[in-house]
Amino acid sequence: MKTRNYFFWMVIAILVASAVARAQESAPAASATDTIPVTTHSTLAQHAYEMGMVQREDRLFVDEGLEFFRQAVKADPQFALGHAALGYFTADPKEAKQESALAVKFIDNASPDEQLLIHWMNSTKNGETVVAISAMNDLLAKYPNDKRLGNLAGEWLCAYQGANERGEAVLSRLLKNDPRYYPAMNNLAYCYALSGQPQLAPPLMEQYVAALPNEPNPQDSYGEIMRMLGDYPAALEHYKKALQINPHFNASQVGVASTYALMGDERKARAQYLVAIEGTRERSTQIGYRILYAMTYYRENKPRLAREEFEKVDSEAHVAGLTVQEAEIHRAMALFNPDAASAFKDLDEAREDLSATSKNNLLPGDRDNELALILQARVFIAVNAGKIEAAQRTLKLLENMAQTSRSTPVQEAYHSANGAVLFAHGDYASAIAELQEDPQNPLSLQLQAEAQTKAGQSADARKTLETLAAISDERMETAFAAPPARVALKRDATRTTQGGAN
C-alpha cells in the first residue's frame, strides 16, 4: 500500500528538522533533560519516531507522520512509546486499539516519564480522563520546556476536552517562552476560534503564514479558520496558496473540496474530492473522504445517487475492516432517509457493523461513541415520525449506556435524545435544558430552536438558529440541519424587511 520510499521522507524530515533547529538557534538552548526521553534499542526506531513527530506535530503532514511511527515500531517491535504514539495519532480505530495494547505490553521497556506519557496517551483514548489529566500535569510540570508535550496537551484540552481556558493557558505559555514555536500558534488559533474569541484567530494566522512562507500548513490552517468563520472565498484563497506551496498537501485539497461543498457547488466539490482521494495513502482517511464525496449528493438533494455512492464506500470500508466508518455510512443514509421504517433498517445495519466481531478490533470508547450517535439518530428519527414508543425504547438503551460511560459524546447523545423525547411529550422547558447539554450537535440545536419557539422564547430560538446557521463544517448533521436554519433566518429577514416597508 505504501508506495513512497521511507528514506525519501527520512531525508525530507531531516532537512526540515535541521531548518527548524537553525530557526531556533537564538532561542534558549534545550538541555538533554528538557524533553521526555525516548527509549529504544534501535537507532532507526529513534530517528523514525523523531521524524514522525516532526511530520505529524510540527509540519502537520499527517500521513507521513503516521508512516514514520509505523516504521519506528517495525524497527523496534518492543518500542513502547512508539506504539503509544501510533495508537494516539492514527485515525484507524483498529490500529489504535492494537497499538495501545502493545504500548502497555512493552511499557516496562520505557523510562518512568515515558510510562507516564504512555498512560496519558492511552487514557485519553479509553475514557480515563482523571488519570490522563494527572499524568499530563505531572509531565508538564516536570518538562516545562518540552514544547511538543505542551502542544499536544494544549491541543487535547481544547479540541477534545473543551477545556479551552486551560488549553489556551498551556499554549500561550509555550508561545511566551518561544514566540516562534509555530505549532502552538496554530493550535492556539484553533482554540480561540472554538472558544468564542474568533477575532483572535486571524491575527495569529497572519503571523503563522508570514513566519513560514514556504510551508503549506500555515495557509491551510488560515483557510480552515476562515471557513469556520464562514468566509468561503478567503478560505479557498488560502487553501489554494497552500497547494501552490505544496501540491501534495492533501489536507488543503480536501479543504478546497469541502469549501465548495459548503458553498453549494457540489460538482466542483466532487471533482476536488476525487483529487484528494487519489492523493491519500491512508485507507481510513481515504474512506473518510469518500464519505464526504458521497455527502455532496445529499447536499444537492440527489438521495438515490447518494445512497448508491454510500453503498459502494460501505463495501470498501467493510473489506478494509473499518467498522466505525461502516456504521457512520449507514447512519448518514438513515439521517437523510425520508422513510422512517427504512431509516431504522439503515440504523440496524449501523449497529450490526459495530456488533460482536468489532469488539475485538475497537477500543470500547470508539465503539460506544459511535453506538451512542446511532441510538441518538434513531430517537430523533422516531420523534420526527411520531413514533414515541420506539423513541422511548431506544432512549432506554442510551440511558443504560450513559449510566456507566464517562464519555462526553455518550453523555451528550443521551441528554439530547432525552430532550427529543421530552419535546415529543410537549415538555418544552425540560427539553430545552436537555438539548442544551449537546451544544455542538446541529440536530440538537435544530430541535432546541423548535422547542424554544413552542415555549414562546422566540428571541432565544432565533439565537439558536443563528448559531446553527453559522456552523461551517463537514459533518453530516451540519449538512442536514444547517441549510434549513439558514433558509428560516433568510425568510424571517425578508418578512421583517417587507413588514418594515409596509
Binding site: A91, T129, A159, A163, Y190, G196, T467, D473
Partner: protein, 153 residues
C-alpha cells in the same frame, strides 16, 4: 491544518465559552487510605461535625478564597443551601481547633497543602489534578462520571 481538529471542529461562537463547565475534584493526601466519601459525609466534614479520619488523623479543609466561584458552587452543592446561608460555616470561630479551614490562592496551593498534610482534604478544578494528590469518589462517582454531583457549569 489539524487533522483531528477538522473532524470535531464546530463553530459555536456564541455558546462555546459557556457550554463547557468543569468538574470539581475532592482531593486528599496520597497517603490517606480514604478512597470514597458520600456527599453526606463530605457535608459533615465541611460543617466540622466529622473532625477526624478513620485512622485518627485530624481533618483540615483546604479551599480557594471564600468568594471564588468554585468555593461558592461547592458550598451550595455540599451543604445544600445558598452560598449566603452556608458561608458562615467556614468562618465559625470554633473551627480554629477542629477541622480548620485554610484558604488558598490557587489550585496549585491547595494541592501543595493537601500533598504536605496527611489529614487535609481539598477542592480543586479537575483539570489541575496532579499525581501529588489523590482524587476521592463522591457517592461512588469521580469527576467525568455520569451523574457526578460536583459537576460545575
Amino acid at each position: 491544518m489539524r487533522n483531528r481538529w477538522c473532524i470535531v471542529c464546530v463553530l459555536l461562537l456564541s455558546v462555546a465559552s459557556v457550554a463547557f463547565g468543569t468538574d470539581y475534584a475532592i482531593v486528599v493526601n496520597p497517603g490517606n487510605p480514604a478512597r470514597a466519601l458520600s456527599l453526606v459525609e463530605l457535608g459533615k466534614i465541611f460543617k466540622a461535625k466529622t473532625t477526624i479520619w478513620p485512622d485518627g488523623k485530624g481533618i483540615t479543609l483546604v479551599l480557594r478564597e471564600p468568594n471564588s466561584p468554585g468555593t461558592k458552587f461547592i458550598l451550595e452543592k455540599v451543604l445544600g443551601g445558598t452560598f449566603d446561608e452556608e458561608k458562615a460555616v467556614l468562618s465559625d470561630p470554633s473551627r480554629k481547633t477542629v477541622v480548620p479551614v485554610v484558604f488558598a490562592e490557587s489550585d496549585e496551593e491547595v494541592m501543595r497543602i493537601v500533598g504536605g498534610n496527611a489529614g487535609a482534604i481539598g477542592v480543586i478544578d479537575v483539570y489541575n489534578i496532579t499525581g501529588g494528590v489523590k482524587v476521592v469518589k463522591i457517592d461512588d462517582k469521580q469527576p467525568f462520571d455520569p451523574g457526578y454531583i460536583l459537576k460545575g457549569r
